[in-house]
C-alpha cells in the first residue's frame, strides 16, 4: 500500500475494489453455470431457433468480455434487469424491499445492542458469579441457535395473539396513514424481536470480552486510585475504551447479521430483501437473486467502511497516527 495516500482515500479505493470484485463474481457465477442463461430460463420445448433468438436477445452469443462490459454499463445506469417473477425492474423491487428490511432490522439491532451492553456490563461487574454465568450462558445459547429455529419457536409461542406473517393485514383496505403504520408496527414486532434475540447472543459475547479486557487495564487502577466511584470508573474509563473496538467487531459480525435477516424474513414472510432472496431461490428468479446479492454486498461493504471511518474518528490514537 502506498503510504502517501490518505487513509480515507485508500479505504474508499479498497471498498470500490471489493464491490467491483463482487460485481465480477456475480457476472461470472451466472455465466459459468452449467449450460448458460438460456438453459436457466427453462423454456420448455424451446426450438433451436427460439433458443438462438433468446441467446441473441440476452447477448449471450457475444464474447464473455463484451457481455461483461455490457453488464457493467447496465449497472452503471442502475439497471439490474427485470424480475422473472413479477416482470418489474429488479432495482424497483429491491428498493422497496430494503425499506421493509430496515423496519425490522434497525429496531432489532438497536434493541440487541442496548441489551447486550447492559447485560455485558452486568456480567463483567459480577465477574465469576452466578449472574455472570447465567447471562453469559443465555448469550451463548442464543448464539448457538439457528435464526430460523428461533423464529419458528417464537411463532409457535405467540401464535394467535401476534401476527406471524407478512408486513400488514392483507384484508384491511383503505386504512388511514396512522392505522396502517400501527398495523405494520404490529406485524413488525415479532420479526424485530426475533432479530434482536439472534443478534444479541454474539453482541453480548463481544461486549463482555471487550469490557473484561478494558477493565483489566492498568488505567482502571489509576482511575480507582483517584477515588472515583465504581460507576464513574466504568462509565468514564471502561465503557468508552471497550465500545470502541466493538464498533469494528460489529462490522465483522455483519455477515452473520445478513444471514440472520434472510432466514428471519423467510420465516415471517416479511417482504424485505431477505424474503426477496428466499423467494428468488424458489422461483429461480435469477435477475432478482443476482441483484439482491449485489445490493447486499454493497450494503455490507459500505457499512464496514462507515464503521471503520467512525472508529478512526472516535479513537484519538488512530487519529494521530494517521497524521504522523
Amino acid at each position: 500500500m502506498p503510504t502517501g495516500v490518505p487513509y480515507v482515500a485508500r479505504r474508499l479505493l479498497g471498498a470500490a475494489a471489493t464491490i467491483l470484485l463482487a460485481v465480477t463474481l456475480n457476472f461470472l457465477l451466472f455465466r459459468l453455470a452449467p449450460g448458460d442463461a438460456s438453459d436457466l430460463t427453462h423454456v420448455p420445448g424451446a426450438s433451436p431457433a427460439l433458443r438462438h433468438a433468446l441467446r441473441h436477445e440476452f447477448g449471450l452469443d457475444q464474447s464473455l468480455w463484451h457481455q461483461y462490459l455490457a453488464y457493467l454499463g447496465q449497472l452503471a445506469h442502475g439497471n439490474l434487469g427485470v424480475s422473472f417473477a413479477n416482470r418489474l425492474p429488479v432495482a424497483d423491487n429491491l428498493w422497496t424491499a430494503i425499506g421493509q428490511t430496515c423496519i425490522i432490522a434497525l429496531p432489532g439491532l438497536l434493541l440487541a445492542v442496548v441489551i447486550a451492553v447492559a447485560t455485558g456490563l452486568l456480567s463483567v461487574w459480577r465477574h465469576g458469579t452466578a449472574v455472570d454465568h447465567a447471562s453469559r450462558g443465555t448469550a451463548l445459547v442464543l448464539y448457538a441457535l439457528p435464526a430460523q429455529w428461533v423464529a419458528i419457536v417464537l411463532i409457535s409461542l405467540t401464535s394467535g395473539w401476534l401476527p406471524t406473517a407478512g408486513a400488514s393485514d392483507p384484508f384491511a383496505v383503505e386504512q388511514s396513514g396512522l392505522a396502517h403504520a400501527l398495523d405494520v408496527a404490529h406485524h413488525a414486532l415479532l420479526p424485530a424481536v426475533c432479530y434482536a434475540l439472534v443478534a444479541y447472543g454474539q453482541f453480548m459475547i463481544v461486549v463482555r470480552a471487550s469490557l473484561l479486557q478494558s477493565l483489566s487495564e492498568d488505567y482502571i487502577l489509576t482511575a480507582r486510585a483517584k477515588g472515583l466511584s465504581s460507576w464513574q470508573v466504568v462509565r468514564r474509563h471502561a465503557l468508552r475504551t471497550a465500545l470502541l473496538p466493538v464498533t469494528t467487531l460489529f462490522g465483522l459480525t455483519l455477515g452473520s447479521l445478513v444471514a440472520g435477516i434472510v432466514l428471519i424474513e423467510a420465516a415471517f414472510s416479511w417482504p424485505g430483501i431477505g424474503l426477496a432472496i428466499a423467494n428468488a431461490v424458489g422461483a429461480r428468479d435469477y435477475p432478482m437473486l443476482q441483484g439482491a446479492f449485489l445490493v447486499v454486498t454493497v450494503v455490507v461493504v459500505l457499512t464496514n467502511l462507515a464503521v471503520d471511518l467512525l472508529y478512526r474518528a472516535l479513537d484519538p490514537r488512530v487519529r494521530v497516527s494517521r497524521r504522523a
Binding site: 479498497g14 475494489a17 471489493t18 463482487a22 463474481l25 456475480n26 457465477l29 453455470a33 452449467p34 436457466l40 463483567v124 461487574w125 459480577r126 465477574h127 451463548l140 445459547v141 448457538a144 441457535l145 439457528p146 435464526a147 430460523q148 429455529w149 419458528i152 419457536v153 411463532i155 409457535s156 401464535s159 406471524t164 473484561l212 479486557q213 477493565l215 483489566s216 487495564e217 492498568d218 487502577l221 480507582r224 465504581s230 470508573v233 466504568v234 471502561a238 465483522l252 455477515g255 445478513v258 444471514a259 434472510v262 432466514l263 423467510a266 420465516a267 432472496i277 428466499a278 428468488a280 431461490v281 424458489g282 437473486l289 446479492f293 447486499v296 454486498t297 455490507v300 461493504v301 464496514n304
Partner: protein, 289 residues
Amino acid sequence: MRRPSAFGVGLTVLALFCVAALLGPAIAPYGLHEQVGGVFQPPSWSHPLGTDDAGRDVLSLCIGGARVSMVVAVAASFVAIAIGASIGVIAGYSGGLVDGVLMRITDYFLVVPALPLMIVISTVWGPSLWHVVLVIGALLWTPSARVLRAEVLTVRERSYVLRVRAMGASRTRIIVHHVLPQVRALIAANCVLTISVAIFFESALAFLGLESADTVSWGTMIADAFRRAAASSGAWWAFVPPGICIAIVVLACNLVGSAVEDRAGTRLRAPRLSRTGFAVADRTAGEDA
C-alpha cells in the same frame, strides 16, 4: 473432585454426536422414511419425541439426521481448513506480491456476506449435498487463512527454522516438518469452530430449500416442520429437537475450540474493578496457610 473441564465436556459431546452420525440408522428405533404413526403425534412411550407431518418418528429422524448434518459440517470444515491452511501458509511463507494478492482475496471473502453468496452458488449449481459441502467449505476458509498466515510469519523467523533453511531444506519440507507442527493446535481449534459455523449454514440452506428434498438432516427437519405449519398446529416436538441438537453441537464446538485457543496462549484476565471488591478474611491474621 475436580470439575470437568470445558474442553472435556465439549469433546465428549462431540464424540457422542459423531457416534450417532456413524451408527445412525443402526441405533435409530425406526426407519428414516418409514411411516410409523399418525401426523404430528405428540410424544409417547413408543415415540419419545412424537411424529412429524409424515408420521415418521422424530427421535429416529434426529439420530439419522445427525449423519447428514455432521458429515456435511465436518466435510465442509475440512474443505475450508484445507483451502485456508494452504492459502495462509503460502501467503505467510512467500511474502511479497503473492502474500499481498492472497490477502486481498482473503479480505474480500471476509466481508462478502457468506449466506447470500452460498445461496447464489447453490441455486446456480442446483440442490445437492456435495454442492452444500463445497459451497460452505469454499466460503469459510478466511479465518484459518489469516490465523495461519500470522503464525507462519512468526514461526518462519524463529532461529531453528532459519537454521534448517540455511542447511538447504526445501520449502515444502520446512512447512511440513517445522511450520505445521507449530500451528497444529490452532488448525484444530479453527477446524472445530468452522464445524459449528458449517452446521448453521447447512440448516440455513436446507431452510431455503437448497438441499435435495429426500435428504434427512437437522436442517431439513426444521425446514419441513416450518413448511408443514408445525408451529401453528402446536407440534413443537417436530422442530424443537433438531434445533437443540444444532445448538448442542455448536456449543460443544465452541467449548473445544476456545479451550484449545486458550491453551495456545491467552492469559486469564480478571477485571480490576467489580461490585464486590476484595474480601476481608474473618479468621485472625497471621496464621499460616
